[in-house]
Structure formats: C-alpha cells, structure tokens
C-alpha cells in the first residue's frame, strides 16, 4: 500500500518537475538566440531562448572552409584530370586539348607560375551528384578546384546543377582541336619523313608524343 502511494507521489513530483522545466522555457521565449557563427567568440554567449532561425532571412553562417558548392578557378587549371580520376562519384567531366606551342603564351600561367599546357574546353561538375567529400580538392596540384562555403544553391531544374567551368567556347575548342590535329599531322609527316630517311621507323604515332612540340615551335615560327 505504501508503494502505491509512493508511486503516486513520485509520479506527481516528477511530472511537476518536468512541467516546471517546460514552463521555464515557455517564459524564456522572449529571448532569441543570435546568428553569429561558431568562429565568433560570442557564440556560446548567445544561446539562451528561442534557438531556431528563420532560414532564408537569417542563416547560420558557414565557416570559411565550409565544404559546399564546388568551384573551379579555371585560370589555374592545368588540365591534369587528377580530380576527375579521384572523384568517387564521378561527378567531374573534363576534356582537354593540348596547347599548341604558339598558344602557350595565350594559354598563360597559373597563379603559381606554372606553364599551362592544356586547354580545358570542358570542365563540368554535376553538383547534384557531388557528395562534397573534398577529395578532388585534396588531389589538385594547383589548388584550383575547391569547395566554397555557399551552402544553398538549389535549383528548380536539375540541369542547372551542372556547372560549366571550361575556358573555351565550343567554336574556340573546335578551332584549337583542328589546329592541334593539323600540327600533329604535320609532325607525324615530318617524323615519318625523318624516320624513313634515318633511324629505324618510329611508331606512326596516332597519339602524339610530347616531344615534337618544341621542334614544331621552330617550324611554325
């Protein structure tokens, strides 16, 4: 019998304690938490009261190296395709065209001073597929692909999630391709001629070896 009454008593007291807590929060609702980010020294001084934010109007700031939307600084890209190979979800598509020797100056250098040897007409990132793991960022030799803290980039049409970063338009790319093909053909011809003349036949390269480029430079100039 005493257990019966003590049960009722604990029930009543614990319920009263719980109700006290919720009532305290109810009256605490006049205060609101601010929206300073975690890197701010005041972060834990502003956490009392209502803690939700009205999202599109107010938002928790993302930290400086937040890993959200991918961005490619194509001026720094050397077209090495390492990110494409490293991506676990295959969301990066890169097409490269070798820069012809005369274009090297046009193609320019990266901000690190490295000579770029590739045109990158297609550098597409399907951000809808991207799982923001940051592996591409870690393998990039020139740090030109990186995640930005832009967290909200939703679109109504999924096709808009495909981001194009290529540095050549289609027409330009065609022209560059043609140019390269011509030069390669010429190089192959020269080489074949040279091979026929002298050394045992080098492979009639369907894929150009990287060497002929400087030779061509002289020929063209």
């Amino acid at each position: 019998m005493s257990e019966y009454f003590s049960n009722i008593k604990t029930g009543a007291t614990t319920i009263a304690t719980g109700m006290g807590i919720t009532l305290k929060h109810f009256f605490n609702a006049i205060k609101r938490k601010g929206d300073t980010g975690i890197d701010d020294a005041d972060y834990f001084r502003q956490v009392d009261g209502l803690c939700t934010l009205q999202y599109p109007k107010e938002a928790i700031p993302t930290p400086p190296h937040g890993r959200y939307r991918l961005y490619v600084n194509i001026d720094d890209c050397i077209g090495c395709c390492q990110c494409e190979r490293a991506c676990p979800v295959e969301c990066i598509t890169i097409e490269t065209i070798k820069t012809t020797a005369d274009d090297l100056a046009v193609c320019g250098k990266t901000s690190g001073g490295q000579q770029k040897r590739m045109w990158v007409p297609v550098f597409d990132i399907d951000t809808a597929k991207c799982m923001t793991c940051g592996i591409c960022q870690s393998v990039c030799p020139t740090d030109c692909i990186y995640h930005t803290p832009v967290a909200d980039f939703s679109e109504f049409n999924v096709k808009n999630m495909l981001y194009h970063f290529g540095n050549l338009s289609k027409i330009e790319a065609e022209a560059k391709k043609k140019k390269l093909a011509e030069q390669q053909a010429q190089a192959a011809k020269e080489k074949a001629a040279a091979g026929a003349a002298g050394a045992p036949a080098a492979k009639p390269a369907p894929k150009p070896a990287p060497k002929p480029a400087p030779q061509q430079k002289e020929g063209e100039a």
């Binding site: 304690t17 834990f44 490293a86 676990p88 799982m131 592996i135």
Partner: protein
Amino acid sequence: MQELGKAESNSTRIIRQDDKRVIIEKDLDTEYMVLSMGPQHPSTHGVLRLECITDGEVVVEAEPYLGYLHRCFEKYCENVDYPAIVPYTDRMDYLAGMNSELAYCITVEKLLDIEIPRRVEFIRVIVSELNRIASHLVAIGTYAIDLGAFTPFLFCFRDREHIMSLLEWISGARMLYNYIWIGGLAYDVPADFKKRVAEFIAYFKPKVVELYKLLTENEIFVKRTYDIGIMPADVAINYGWSGPMLRGSGVKWDLRRNDPYSIYPELDFDVPVPDGKFSVVGDCLSRHLVRALEIDESLKIISQCLDKMPEEPNFNSRAVIPKRIRPKAGEVYGRAENPRGELGYYIVSDGKSTKPVRCKARSSCFVNLSAMKDLSKGQLIPDLVAIIGSIDIVLGEVDR
C-alpha cells in the same frame, strides 16, 4: 494445471488438471493478425520493416526485414581507392560519421603499420567523442519521441546543433565529414577550437541535467521502459551485442578499454553499467541510462584531451599520409567503439592494387537488431516501439 497443446486453432486449449481429467477450454474464436510495421512508420527509425504477428495488442512474433536502404557499401569499396572509402563510411552511420571514419582509418593504418602523430590522435578522440555525444543525443531524443515526449527531442537537437557547428567549423561539413583520413586529418583544428569546445562543455553540462530531469527521471518514462525487453548478459554476448546495448545488460565491455586504440589508454573514464537499483539490468531503461551516462563520460574524455593535447604551431595534419595507399598483402579486422557498439572493418588487401579486395563492415546496429525477434516475443505494441527505440538503430548502418 498443464497446457498440453493447442488444437485446431489458437482459440482451443487442451488443459489437464491435477486429477488427470482432460478439459478442453474454448475461448472466443480469434485469429492472429499480421501487421506490417514499416518501412514507413514513425518509430522504425528509417526504413526498417517489422512483420508482426499480433494477438490483439500482443506481438506474438516480429520478424525484421532489412535492405530498404542497401547502398552496396561493400561493393563500392572494392571499386574505389582506400582514401575514397572514407566519405562512404560517413554515410553508413550518418549520425556518428567521425566514429565510423575513425574505425575505418585505424583499420587501414593497422594494415599499413604507420605511426600517427600524437596531436592527430588527440584531435581524433575529441571529434569522435563529440560525435558520440551528438549521436547519443539523437538516440535519447528519438527514444523520447517513441514514447510520446516531443520536447526532450528538440532540446537534444538544439544541443546537438552546437556539436554539428563545432564539427563543421573544423571539417567543413555538418554531418558527412570526411575529416579523419588514413594517416592523419584533413585539416588541423582552428586556433580557437579548444576554447570553444571548453565553452561547449560548460554550456552543455547543465543542459544534460535538465534533460535528465525532464525525461530520464520522469515517472511515466521510467514506467514505460522499466522491465521491458530484458536481455540477459550471456544471451546478449551470444547475440554479439556490443556497445551500450551490451553494457545495458551489465557486461562491462567497452572497446576503448578492452581493446584499446588511439590514446584511450591514457585517459581516465568510466564504463557505465547499470547497477540494478534504478532499473532491471538488461531492460530498455538500462540501455537508456547507459547512453545518458556515457554523455558524461564523453565530456570527461574531451576535457582531458583538451588539457593533454600537445600544442604544435604550424602543425601539418597531413604529414604522414602516404602518397599512395597500397597496403601489403594481408587481411585485418580492426574495430572501434561506435556510439552504437562495435564497428568493425574486415579488409583484405592483395598488395598490388590501391583498392581493397574485400572490405566488410561489421555494423553494430545490424548485429544488435538481429535479437529483435527474440526480444519482441509476447510484448505489447507500445513496448515493441520502446524496444526498437532502445536498440537505437541507424538504418544506414544496418543496410549499408
């Protein structure tokens, strides 16, 4: 009186009394009802499906069906490089990504046999304990929802949000971190990180007490979980239970103590097991209590780590990460204490490729859930919900 068996249907029972007279007792003619609980049900924590055979509100048998969230983790692993598996481990137990990463990375490091800088180890322990707190907060919060209390859930999430912010600050992502890498970390922690974590602990301690008062001590909550779903220690071991589930059954077994990894041997913390005063050892309440107490222990671990962590200016957290991860041929079973129990990885390397030949994830929820059939026998439906909640499953990890 002895029940000899059931004849015709379950409504008729043949009973022999002491004087050897056989009587046939006929009840109202009732039938069992098959009740499909899930995959879309509020308290199956995702897409678990339980096929319950019910007799009124009493569950005669509940058979779990899995696979609705199967994402071929193991097949994936065989097709990507070792470092690229790390983001996938996040997605297995998405509530405790850091712990999953830690388990995977220490497994591969065991195979590679490399030494990790001490500062990295400390940071790893801090983030994984923070994540353990976050995970337990979700476990406790959703358990409260299962039992009908909504407010503690939101209080838990409010506090979890701060942990998410802390982890986003250091790793760049809120849930799927890819922060712990094989042989190191993605980044060193920001300068103010230690200070902010200390502030978080100061902020969080009174909130835990409030949570206890609001939920754990509430008489209705206690009555709902007390003496429900009891699992004896030996059966729990035989079922391969681990983590808070096993400790809830009174077995003091914690991989951080019993199979120590990282810097846990240097740290001072308790492994809470129920003493049977407040709960029956092995019931749902014990499991809940273990989780609640583990939050305190994790806070203890974090503050110790903050004190002991070596300060190294210009620390390169990627210093010892191998350029190309290609372990020598061999196999390894490595594991770590996840918030839900033992998360193990069985990895086979052929020594030639940069991809594992086999990478099996031994998920704790998968094993813990396998006892569901036994636990659910003869329980009421509300108790069934309480039991599922106390197992604290994450379907991402069960189905992989």
